[in-house]
């Protein structure tokens, strides 16, 4: 049922949209997009830095090979929130499963950016700059606010992430309470996560120092408060009636790089998923009626290996899952040209085959949700004529 035929329908429908785009492209110039009124529609970008393991997020339990390749890390079928004969939500995503049932959430699976190597660094650059080359130094959200002045964006980060870097001015905000040391603790945790001895040292040291990851976005109560704080503030930026307030926010959630000790229903990945779920639910709560006009994109630079490795984790892979949530999402569906987990179907013999390009989702969101013109979209995602926007994923 997740065959190419169904998917082709998405693409064909998309094609009819873009043929117009291709014609208009020649006439495009930034001057067309003068500020008139601020857009009412909200886009929230959450980059899941570190490469989340899509196969253990939306689990293809209907594939016997899933269990064969992951003797330790596979999640038993009966534990999953099943949605059909092939896929089930990770048990840590119970609430998001509810959103899915309310048609406010969808997944695209076996999807990837055009990047085909395995460096986080370059992978994130390409995901954020919206091209197929790591060297491009402007982000696609920046090009968006540059060509369409109806949109304003803010980064909820200490610095300005690449996705918002470029010629258009973009704001950024981060809680002051999170001082340098706290920020460093976070980064150290991520950086050392795969060095068992050093990360143990760090954690132990933090406990001893009675800092106990207080400021870190980790699993404990104070950390929760921080995440809540950040979300609350983000929502109030987005809800503001001030004409200079943003309708686009870029957030990040790091820590997905589970080379070791990934866990199954508990453990590192489950903790991460809990955080993400909490962030999304909190956004819904704090956005109030604006939720109906919101789309959240959650995705990673790439996926992880189909086979588990020798340290109860997974290594850098290619195809992964992408999540859309919000009242404006035509949820309750899984978009996938599912490539199967047969050994012969794996990308380079090890990764989930990337049968879709993330830009087909981004383009649809820009065209249908943010009402950005075809020619502007072609400017925002250059050299991607062949990547057609998906249809049917935005509620109209």
């Amino acid at each position: 049922m997740y065959n190419l035929a169904i998917n082709r329908r998405h693409f064909l429908k998309g094609l009819s949209n873009t043929s117009a785009a291709l014609i208009a492209a020649g006439a495009f110039s930034p001057q067309f997009a003068l500020a008139k009124t601020k857009s009412d529609n909200i886009l929230i970008w959450i980059i899941l830095r570190g490469a989340w393991d899509g196969l253990n997020v939306l689990v293809p339990y209907g594939e016997p090979n899933y269990y064969k390749f992951r003797p330790k890390l596979a999640i038993a079928a009966e534990k999953l929130h099943k949605i059909d004969g092939l896929f089930g939500f990770n048990p840590a995503l119970g609430e998001l499963h509810q959103l899915y049932k309310k048609n406010e959430l969808l997944f695209a699976h076996a999807i990837a950016s055009p990047y085909r190597s395995r460096s986080h660094f370059d992978g994130q650059k390409i995901l954020e700059n919206g091209t197929s080359r790591a060297g491009i130094r402007s982000g696609w959200l920046n090009r968006l606010i540059d060509v369409d002045k109806n949109h304003k964006a803010i980064a909820i980060e200490a610095g300005l992430p690449l996705i918002l870097q470029g010629s258009a001015p973009a704001d950024s905000w981060y809680p002051n309470k999170l001082n340098e040391k706290a920020h460093e603790v976070n980064l150290l945790q991520e950086m050392l996560a795969n060095s068992p001895q050093l990360s143990r040292n760090l954690q132990q040291a933090m406990k001893i120092e009675n800092m106990a990851m207080d400021m870190a976005i980790g699993g404990n109560k104070k950390a929760t408060k921080n995440l809540e704080n950040i979300i609350k503030q983000t929502a109030s930026f987005l809800k503001s009636h001030n004409e200079n307030s943003p309708n686009i926010a870029a957030l990040e959630l790091g820590g997905w790089d589970t080379h070791a000790g990934q866990g199954t229903i508990n453990g590192r990945l489950a903790t991460q998923l809990n955080n993400l779920e909490r962030a999304i639910l909190s956004l819904k709560k704090n956005l109030g009626s604006k939720w109906q006009k919101t789309i959240i994109i959650g995705c990673s630079e790439f996926g992880r290996t189909v086979k588990e490795n020798g340290t109860s984790g997974t290594d850098h892979g290619t195809g992964s899952a992408l999540l859309l949530a919000g009242g404006a999402v035509n949820g309750g569906q899984i978009i996938s040209a599912w490539p199967s987990l047969k050994a012969s179907s794996l990308y380079e013999g090890r990764d989930l085959y990337p049968s879709m390009d993330v830009r087909s989702v981004f383009k649809a969101v820009l065209l249908e949700h943010l009402q950005i013109g075809n020619s502007a979209v072609a400017h925002i995602f250059p050299d991607s004529d062949k990547i057609l926007p998906l249809s049917n994923i935005i509620r109209t």
Partner: protein, 354 residues
């Protein structure tokens, strides 16, 4: 600090590592005040010239050096039946003899008895220090126990200095010494990541040591060529001294002020010549790799970040080229400022292990 600078600018880093290894093997610790001024002379005169020579020569140079004679009290060891001993009713001090057997050569409890320590200490009487000598070393015949000694089942009846020299020669060529040195060298370079390979390395080193009579160069050739030292996984956690050196050696843009350097090493419990024991510093990862040491190192990393006046990402690339760990780069890129970025890099796994 000259020692640090030499190891930093040297284009023979392997040689410098060996100097530090042997200095730690024949450790002196300068808590005793009079030793302070001798510590760098000791390394320069006794260790450095012999690093590419033979173990026996280094052992003799170390044992004759005033720093060692002072540190392990041999300068006041007097034969009971020597002229001085009879006159002043003084006796031997076993300290140096014991440590040579236990630490420098055979290894602890490895083929010698208390009687052997006493016999060896008697042979070493008269090995002393004097400001009147150019080298600082004198043989004081008046303090020498001028009698034949039975040491490790052999009779030593050579005159004067020749007696202890013969014993040192015997020890330097003993198979237990070969085994002891081989194990320490193998542990220092290959560590415990792959115990089987490290053991195999130690066996090869021991065989070479015995075959060549303690020639050191062949040992280094084995080290460089052996599989145990060419694993992709990191072999050793860097000691604080190695870590600071790695930082300094990384780039000409790094100029760490002496005060910060010594202060840093002191805070990390690794101030040069202050091991506090003739055994030197333990050479096991577990000694340095702990939560509290991590916190110390974090603080030092922050302080040292001040002296690295270059772009953090470029600096990281200078250190590791294409092999730079991307998890470090990611974290560095997201740091709040340049110093924080450098601090993170200094604490990365690649910088903390070798």
């Amino acid at each position: 600090m000259a020692r640090h600078q030499q190891a930093t600018i040297s284009d023979q880093s392997f040689n410098e590592r060996l100097v530090h290894f042997w200095q730690n093997h024949f450790a002196i610790s300068v808590e005793k005040r009079e030793l302070k001024i001798l510590s760098s002379a000791y390394e320069k005169e006794a260790i450095r010239p012999n690093v590419m020579g033979s173990f026996g020569d280094m052992l003799l140079a170390v044992t004759m050096h005033p720093a060692m004679l002072l540190y392990l009290d041999n300068y006041k060891s007097v034969g009971a039946n020597s002229k001085l001993g009879l006159k002043r009713k003084k006796g031997i001090n076993e300290n140096l003899a014991r440590e040579i057997l236990e630490l420098h050569t055979l290894g602890v409890d490895n083929g010698y008895s208390q009687q052997d320590i006493i016999a060896f200490a008697n042979m070493l009487t008269g090995w002393s220090v004097s400001v009147k000598s150019d080298t600082g070393f004198i043989f004081n015949n008046n303090a020498h126990e001028n009698e034949a000694q039975i040491f490790m089942q052999q009779k030593y009846n050579q005159p004067k200095m020749a007696q202890a020299k013969a014993a040192l020669f015997y020890l330097a060529n003993h198979k237990n010494t070969a085994g002891h040195i081989a194990k320490k060298l193998a542990q220092h370079f290959a560590g415990e990541t792959n115990k089987r390979l490290t053991k195999n390395l130690a066996i090869q080193l021991e065989e070479s040591f015995i075959k060549t009579g303690g020639q050191l160069k062949p040992l280094y050739q084995i080290l460089i060529g052996h599989e145990a030292c060419w694993q992709t996984a990191p072999l050793r956690f860097r000691s604080p001294n190695e870590w600071v050196l790695a930082i300094s050696r990384a780039s000409q843009n790094v100029r760490i002020k002496d005060k910060a350097l010594i202060g840093g090493l002191k805070n990390m419990g690794h101030q040069p010549y202050f091991s506090g024991s003739p055994a030197g510093w333990p050479d096991y990862d577990s000694h340095w790799n702990s939560p509290s040491a991590f916190v110390q190192k974090w603080q030092i990393a922050k302080q040292l970040s001040r002296f690295i006046k270059t772009d953090p990402l470029a600096f990281a690339k200078v250190c590791f080229g294409e092999n730079i760990d991307q998890h470090s780069l990611l974290a560095m890129q997201r740091a709040k400022n340049l110093r924080s970025s450098i601090t993170l890099f200094l604490l990365s796994e690649q910088m903390q292990y070798r």
